[in-house]
Symmetry: D2
Subunit: 441 residues, 4 copies
């Protein structure tokens, strides 16, 4: 469920960069093409729109993605590369396959390269080489989870990457990745422009947490939620099968609890959902432990669903950063398991705690059908954007339409669960958990 995002300060559509004038006629046999003047409203509130129009301002709007009648690159000559970065996410292979199909069959591009293991594959010191991609090579890759190309975390020197792109004569770089990857793509794009190389950088946002700003849906999310649901079912079964059984499931969600919240709504068995957006205390009269105690007395079992980024203020330590530059998280699942056990042991209350951490099992499955279709469209639109010479651009999904988004804007703010929105409200209704588990509130 989307939450209306905070209003940006910029005209979105006017910030889309292009490498130059489009003079090549598209080989696509379409009757209808999109043009750069096809726009989609960002804000759907009629009152704000009226005010803006009266103030002489343009309505904020995204440029529609889609095939252009005139394109920038000559399909016969252009050479492109596709890279997948960061953690696995269902649908990566679908996006890659869709790109290859669109490039090969529709535009007739024959020089398509796959980068091995993320940004690392563009650093020659890793001696990874580039893979030749064509429809036969990508045949059936979407039946498997993971990334056919391989992936890795962490950046590589921007100038080395740009050197490689130039040396390899890559003219369009398609980068599928999350926050860190997109930040990298912005830096690479800037360096390309500084050098005046005429290389397009097109991003496809990948976040299993579904928390990229101004993008209403990211691929793999529905699949991840469906997988998470299976873990919740199992944890519920374990909890119910034991006297005062407590199941704890840690789900993904470093900064946003969308997976945890949605999975909990779907399965409707959770007693507590803990997400990064909503702080909670463990101890004290309003804290989680006391609440859990009361649930156990009533029901005899409880299921606690926790996003990995929840409750980070409960750790004293700073855990440093990972290769991608993300702050390392304290293991909230283990902390809960430990603190809950201690609490009930000290009360001499017979209980059983079962802890499930399904992370890899969720993110490495093949995409569900609706994610597959979404990935087909993402790949096609990324190719359309690249062939039209768009650069520094992300393929977004806004109100079920595909749009162009300046990468810089998209990564400026994260999407998060709004505590007063319908998603969280429904979670509260479904779990029956207290609106606040912070003693001081």
């Amino acid at each position: 469920m989307s939450i209306q995002p905070i209003e940006p300060e910029l005209e979105l559509s006017s910030h889309i960069q292009t490498l130059g004038h489009c003079s090549v006629t598209s080989p696509l046999p379409y009757r209808r093409f999109m043009s750069d003047s096809d726009l989609v409203m960002y804000d759907l509130d009629p009152g704000r729109l009226k005010a803006r129009v009266r103030d002489g301002l343009e309505p904020m709007a995204f440029e529609r993605a889609g095939a252009r009648e005139k394109i920038y690159f000559d399909p016969a000559n252009v050479k492109v590369a596709i890279v997948t970065c960061g953690g696995l996410c269902p649908g990566l292979n679908d996006v890659v396959r869709s790109m290859v199909h669109e490039l090969y069959f529709m535009y007739g591009v024959r020089r398509i390269k796959g980068v091995r293991y993320g940004w690392a594959g563009l650093n020659p010191s890793n001696r990874l080489g580039l893979l030749d991609l064509d429809p036969e090579v990508v045949q059936g890759i979407n039946e498997d989870g993971g990334s056919f190309l391989g992936s890795s975390r962490g950046p590589q020197p921007v100038d080395v990457i740009v050197d490689t792109l130039f040396r390899e004569d890559i003219r369009i770089l398609f980068a599928i990745g999350g926050d860190g990857t997109l930040r990298g793509a912005v830096a690479i794009n800037k360096e390309i422009q500084r050098r005046g190389l005429g290389i397009a950088v097109v991003g496809v946002p990948k976040t299993i947490d579904n928390d990229i700003g101004m993008v209403s849906r990211t691929f793999g999310f529905d699949t991840a939620v469906a997988q998470a649901v299976e873990s919740l079912r199992c944890a519920h079964t374990e909890a119910r099968g034991a006297r005062n059984g407590i199941g704890i499931v840690k789900l993904m969600g470093r900064h946003s609890g969308f997976v945890a919240a949605n999975a909990s709504l779907a399965v409707a068995n959770a007693s507590f959902v803990l997400v990064p957006e909503i702080p909670f205390d463990l101890d004290g009269p309003k804290g989680l432990l006391a609440s859990l105690d009361s649930v156990l007395s009533k029901r005899g079992h409880a299921l606690v669903v926790v996003a990995e980024g929840a409750g980070q203020d409960l750790f004293d330590d700073d855990f440093g950063t990972d290769p991608s530059g993300n702050r390392k998280l304290g293991d909230i699942g283990l902390l809960l398991k430990q603190r809950i056990s201690e609490y009930f042991k000290s009360k001499k209350f017979e209980h059983t705690v079962k802890y499930i951490d399904p992370s890899y099992i969720i993110r490495s499955v093949p995409a569900a059908p609706n994610d597959r279709i979404f990935c087909v469209f993402l790949g096609q639109h990324a190719v359309h954007a690249g062939m039209a010479g768009k650069t520094g651009v992300l393929i977004g999904s806004w109100n079920n339409l595909f749009v162009h988004l300046p990468i810089e804007l998209a990564i400026r703010r994260r999407k998060q669960i709004h505590p007063d929105g319908i998603l969280w409200t429904s979670v509260l209704e479904s779990t029956g958990q207290p609106e606040s588990m912070v003693n001081s509130l």
Copy 2:
């Protein structure tokens, strides 16, 4: 994928009817409520919007659905009924369960009735009685497919239904159903108003074909597509396993081919997708049979996906109407099977035809997780609307937000696949089928 619908002539939000002034304070512990002045624009085109605003017109907009701070009915006294009508659709039980939970736990309503077997259950001559619903009764019903309440096709006399509602003291009728059901709801609502009975009628749109106008998503659709995908896989396997194997799968879609198109995109193995929106010939140089012949020569096998409403002009007969008043369709799947067999037999071309008609297997499965969540929200919003005294109103989903929609407007036009839109374009790209299989075009 949504297709921008044709512009309606009406101010959407100003057509929402209410039974009267809302004077009861909502028992919901929310910090933030929706109000009738929260609107969502219907049209997303900034140019048209600017023009409209400058012409002094209001932008067309939907009223946002959601909990109101002041409601019309007193939860302590109100008695409500829920009815499910028409063919099965994944998620029916989820919607019913969500309604019961919201009514019972959040509003404190205790008089909740379930109507047995569709409109038939409101006709006393069927002696079906009403079911008492509470959270215990609906516990786990969403783990099963189908409708816990039972369903039936076809209308019942409007005055008899209204008599029953009045006699039973039902003050809110929640009707979950498709086209025909919603038409019935409109008639019932009119009769209620004619008699001045003060009964609210709230609809939740149910169409596995996802073809209700001005509603971007209907529940069960994603689940149905995922199930359809399994049938396509099997048909593809059968086709590939035989010399010149031809698999034919008939999917739902009386007027709109969304299930067929989406399932085909997800599985990407179809050679032909036939939908009601796009006419085709069987014979002649551009017809399906000649195209299929050429595909078999190249690939040695072929998969034909056909929506049940496709190619109805190929039948000479009129098949009459079903109890719901829908025109009965010719069995296009069997016709294709027969004509394809005859064609290749007459050419003495060795081949095998395998025909799969999975209809009931697709529509009677439990809802997939993302549909479950969607159903939770639909049920909640329907309850909010009913408690606020809205009537003749449908809970729509517009650009990922929930809205109120006059039922009459929603059923005025069907949503269909646009031949120049990205869905159909992608289907053409994916299948490689000719843009037109009509000889005269």
Copy 3:
């Protein structure tokens, strides 16, 4: 569940043919090999066994399958072929893959051919050629259902097939197929022996009906039952969702109702299970229609599960034979649908009939894990048998052990459900259907 089969008249193990003396040392690095004197008793009854031993007779026993220390063919020179025949069955690709792996990696055989589309692929008039098989070619084929090699029904001239085997220098033919295929394998083997060609013929029994005599388990059966269960669930959902809803599901089972009986036991929702082994009347006081009537009065819905070969005596017509020489069956599912509708219409009893015929959807899915493992072993044991020069031999499974079985014996009698055995007794208990629905009994 196995039913103790009728006692054969022959010494099983002494009927296994070999091409000659095994003088080649197996390349397998095993510490323990099987020998032809490793036997498994056929009959498990101690009383009969004691009597036999006291009478100076050998206990009837199968020869154990497994790797031999001395083999007949030189792996460096032998050329082998694999053929799959008849209808699809989950696991076909697993068996083929296992054979290729065992031949290639363990024995070091490099000349492995795949026959296209069943026996047809060994008739040069079909111009189908042979496929080169190695581990790379069969990589991942078991993730798909169906037969990677293709299949077909019906025989081809035996002498043409033997000509082809000889001309292509095939020394071992692995034939995976059912009744008809195995009959063909026997004929081919006889012709080979008549000509003194020294070619081994090794069969792997394939029957989704699990009805091959003296073989306690055949691959794909568990998977098929699991798939059938899904159809029964859907039919039950449809039946329950309508007033006096009657779901009819037709499952495979030409001569034996094992799939129908097992699926019904697993889902435990069926009111009637109809199998070829147990006759039934439609009309009359004890007939199905009267019984169904009484079930509907009590429960309001009913599920009828029917094996395709059940009730064939209810048809007047002779439907001829199919290309495999099997008698064509009357469509008992459609007959039931028709007769049930007529019956209740004539009684003016409101009802709904939903008919599901999931055949292709059941047999074309990939194998479930336990079938996969079983197929791995079948493939390995077939290779061991072939390399040891066994011929006319079938790889059977007897009491969880793998054995050699003369093909001729295996196809002599079919396995069927015993009306007094625990399987049928449990079906009667689970459905509550009358022990007999024949008026004259």
Copy 4:
């Protein structure tokens, strides 16, 4: 795949105890009943049989399970209890449901009690009470995983349990559980006999590891393997998606590696399978680390599957015992993760380790269809045994037939993987791992 177990010293069938003479006529409408003289051979080797007969010894044989024509307890008066103990296992609810159905519908028993949370529920100090069971209460419980009755680990005082049984007038106790539970059942049975109480104790073996001696199949095993396969797939996907990615999956198997071995065979992607039966070194030229190093150099990724009981000699510590009296295991999965990381870090070899411990996710799912059917039969046969007054008896499955087994014998020896049997041989073939990873061998 079963491994022929070591020969027991006892006449199996002659050790089945009964409470007394069976004088009640069974209410079952069967035409054919089993009798105590129906036997099934334990050993299938004809040579050993002949030798035994010549020596004047009886062939070792099990008594067949099944309905008896004369039973011991009067269904109208008998009161029975069902208890589930130990860790969860798919199918527990199916067995309970089958028992209730058989007792209620077939024998007409009306006093059926469910014991809450294992043996704890028979200790009054836990104040858990007994649950009334009938077909309505157990309706649909098998759609959920886990144990509807609840379970717990660890014993309770035998005399307290026997006191409770006597006080509650329980005449048959059905105990579903593993090793520890069955040991408890033996002790309870002895105490009952010491006191001369005439209470029957009937066990149904539950072990997800499938390692109970003289029982060829236990329920839930196939389901667990199928679930384990999903984890292996995910780990393989993760491993392949990273440079030198190493996936480690810990599966159940304290003493026997059947789950690990079978799951690995089914998915065929593992590089190493480590089981309790086969020791291995970590270090040294033949150790796992060196082998893994060599696999990574060749393939670039590796999957290590480890049963929880494998490599316990690698731990210095003694971890004590759990409440059930089982020795606590060192966490071999974490040890491997740690040692593998250290090894490659010290070699400055870029790599990624992903560790998956899916335990609860595997054991808490609902049973797959073939396990369901198996559970139906187990439950029925347990009821037949109890009603016939058999005690101290276990319902075993031997060569696809159901048999009676003295509990004491069954728990005397565990079933384990034989290093020279076809299961382990196939694992070695499938993985390509060295036959021995012990330096001194």
